[in-house]
Each structure stands twice: as C-alpha cells, then as structure tokens.
Subunit: 103 residues, 4 copies
C-alpha cells in the first residue's frame, strides 16, 4: 500500500514570515527517516500505512505547539493499494503520457 500525505502546517499568530517554524517541522521530518519531498506549498510524505502518515502530522503539531496559540493545517491523502514509490512514479506516469514536465 502507498499512502501519500501532503500537508502544510503553520502558526497563524506569528506574522507573515513563518519559515523559522516551518523549518523546525521539516527538520523533524528529515530526521524521521520517512520518504518526503518539500514543495513550495508544503511537504509530501509517503508511508506504507495511514498510521505512520498521521503520526508525522501529529509530531509536526507537537513541534509548533510550544511557539503558537493557533495553528492551521491543510492536509490531503491519496491512499492506494498495490502500489509503491508513488512520490516518483506519479510524475513519471504523467510524463509517459505528455512528455517532460517541470517538477
């Protein structure tokens, strides 16, 4: 099974520049060993179970909790049985149909 979870999570009480806090969350994800990709809008992780994916969301909040009174998060899940390595394969599948794309 392939669980793709994409999320953004940020404090909403820290002004318009929050990369310091987001950096701490990404650092935790890097150190966790989970497969991930950083994008301009969030982080995509791939795990084998939904439990592992949601645990990363939970830990991300725990990173931000000491700093902030209010935290917002937007999350998308795409869970598919019988697949793996979709962090790479979904883009390749599109490229096999329409040629090279920016990624």
């Amino acid at each position: 099974m392939s669980v793709l979870l994409e999320f953004a999570m940020f404090p909403t009480d820290k002004g318009d520049s929050v990369s310091q806090y987001v950096g701490e969350v990404i650092q935790m994800i890097k150190e966790s060993g989970v497969s991930y990709k950083l994008t301009a809008m969030g982080t995509i992780i791939e795990t084998e179970t939904i439990d592992e994916a949601l645990a990363i969301v939970n830990k991300s909040y725990k990173v931000l909790e000491p700093y902030s009174n209010r935290v917002y998060s937007s999350i998308n899940l795409d869970i598919r049985k019988g697949k793996s390595n979709r962090l790479e394969e979904k883009i390749k599948s599109i490229e096999s149909k329409i040629g090279k794309v920016e990624h």
Copy 2:
C-alpha cells in the same frame, strides 16, 4: 484547547455516487461520541487533543479500506489554545459582527 478538524474522505473507484460509503463513516463518528457537524462538503469534529482528532481520520479510513482500492481525503485543522465549543462559537462570533447568517 480546541481542535477543529474538518474532513472529506471517499473512495475514488466506486463511481459518482458514494453516499453509501460516506454514510458508514458518519455512522462510526456518531457512535464515537465525539462532537461533530455534518456539512454538504464533509464532517467537522471538535476534540480536546490532536490525537483524538487524527484517530477519527484513521478510523474513517479503516471503515472504507475493505471496499476500496483508492481513497482520497482532504482535511483541515484549526487548533487553538484556551478555547472550547468552537463548533458553535465561531459562527456566533461572526453573527455578533454582521448579524444573522445561514448555517
């Protein structure tokens, strides 16, 4: 602390009518005892911890897993310290500013 979590979760391999599956998820939420509201676009739950809120998302997937090879979910979290009963209070706060609204 008030954790508001709104989510939609549905199989994407079951055609355009999925209310049978969604109904089973809502039934589980009803029986869980968590505070919730059904909307036309998903379900909003309110819990005191992020752990409880993410556990409902996890259980929702477990309801759908036997039926479907592919499940999609969109989730938003609004976590705020020092507040409670925001399922009701956020709408009342808007109404205190601009008068009656549809809800």
Copy 3:
C-alpha cells in the same frame, strides 16, 4: 449542474483573532445573493457554474487585500452534473441511510 465550493480564507499576518476580517468576507457573500452556509471551518457556496463559484473566491481576496500582506486559502470543489440544491440534499441523503445526524 451543481457546483459546491467550500473555502476558508484568512490573513496570516494579523495575529490569532481574525474574525473581523472573516466577517467582512461573509458580509460580501451574504449580499451577493449566492446560496451559502457558514460552518465552523469556512463557507460553502452552491452555484450553477464554476465561473460563479470562483468569482466569489476572487472577490473574497479583494475584500482582504487592503488589510493584509499575506493571505492563505483552502478550497474544495465538488462539481456534479444533473443535480441541484445539494447544500441541503447531500445531508438528507446521508440521513436517509443512517438516520438523524448533527448538522
């Protein structure tokens, strides 16, 4: 055709209480005449075309733009041909399967 669009939109540089700004957006939606429901996590509108639905998102940003240097928005669309009045009907459809629910 029924276009359901749910969205939250808020400044992220105005501290943890943003109901003043959100109130102005809801006021604009009320006055627009579009079918809508306010929830604890955002606003759901129903229109007959995607053009009308996206125009409300655009106008919402124009309401916030003078106040804020940074605005975040999370939006979900559920577009279905051959249906109408889904702001009410989707909840009724669930209730017809599992009985009364909170909404």
Copy 4:
C-alpha cells in the same frame, strides 16, 4: 505580488486510474505558459494575480468536463505581496535554515 496556487483536480467517476485525464490538464497548463511544478499530489502554479491563478483552475475543469459527471478538486492559495519567484525561493529559504532537503 506572488500568488501560489496548488491544486489537484480529478474525475471521481472514472475508476482508480485517472492519469489519462490528469495528463490532459497538465498538458493545458504546460501550454499556457504559466510557471508551474508538478508534484506527486498535484500542480503548483505561480502567477502575479489571483485572477490568472483562478483562470487556470477554471480551464482545468473545462478540460475534464466533457469526460466526467463528477469532478473533485482541492486547492490551496498562498498570496503574498512584495515577493516573487516563490516556486523556488520558499524551498531555498528552508534550506538556508536547515540545510539540504529533498525536493
């Protein structure tokens, strides 16, 4: 101004493999000339106005409309005044704080 808009849009009545349809949407975006990045969970575009960004969402639906009775979309917007090229710069800003990341 920098408008980052990330979105996924797909038919929900076409079974579990929808890359054919998603490919047509990406093809339209490629040909549009807008700055974009494909990810495993969607497409991120960057424009100078919200009007241009929402026009791409609108055109994406028009690509899918002939094929599908039901289309779902999840969209996030991050709009920030006084910035540009954030498709690249947001990732670099994180890397300047915590070192190299996967992207």
